[in-house]
Symmetry: C2
Subunit: 139 residues, 2 copies
């Protein structure tokens, strides 16, 4: 059961900010900077605490940062309430995370289970690569 929470300035600002930034993953520090740019100064610990809370509620998802060794990035989940059912595709260039809403998920999970005895946890699995947009501008 979710712990109750107050509607505070920091919480509202964070939610509003995440909503406008779409599902583009950002680090805690980037989020804090973004909030500050919008006139909302929020302590770093508050950012982490709010993100952890939202994460627990399923409103935000936490991914490994694209660049290794650099902690985590957070993305607003929005309408995606079934992340445990599909795979995730993260672009190593732009950082965007796409949710693979496709029957292929089922095929893959079934294949791995039947042929390899491996139970995939889709919600936590992220495939890395280049998204369509970044492929086009591939330098």
């Amino acid at each position: 059961m979710q712990k109750k929470h107050y509607q505070t300035a920091a919480r509202s600002a964070l939610l509003a900010y995440l909503a406008t930034s779409g599902e583009h993953p950002q680090s805690a520090e980037e989020i804090r900077t973004g909030l500050a740019a919008g006139g909302h100064t929020v302590g770093q610990s508050t950012v982490y605490r709010l993100l952890a809370d939202l994460c627990a509620r399923g409103a935000v998802k936490k991914y490994h940062a694209g660049k290794e060794g650099e902690g985590f990035v957070y993305a607003f989940v929005g309408a995606h309430q079934h992340c445990e059912r599909h795979l995730h595709l993260q672009c190593v260039r732009c950082g965007a995370v796409r949710h693979l809403e496709c029957d292929y998920n089922t095929h893959l999970s079934e294949h791995l289970r039947a042929e390899h005895g491996f139970l995939v946890d889709c919600g936590r699995s992220v495939l890395l690569g280049l998204c369509a947009s970044c492929t086009e501008v591939k330098a």
Copy 2:
């Protein structure tokens, strides 16, 4: 082009240790402890530097640690010289990483490319879940 390197005691010990520990991923600190247990005291910075070097040469692979927020684990690559061609399955319980040597890799990559415009970088993609062994003892 690879930078040349000397054959030093620390380097030999690390390689020997990794060879015996198979492909089971370990953290830098675990590796250091393991070396110490074998009578080889190696400075922590040396461990990191050697791992980074081996990683660059493709002899060692670096994965996110199973538990989030806890850095990385390293695994000996050994005979797997084609990690860029297959997916990786990491067990969230025991930490083992398996290389998916199966035609399914091709299917998946092709599907994602054709249907979703996403170019998967298999070598860096890791699917999380439960391996066969851990599924059996699922508590």
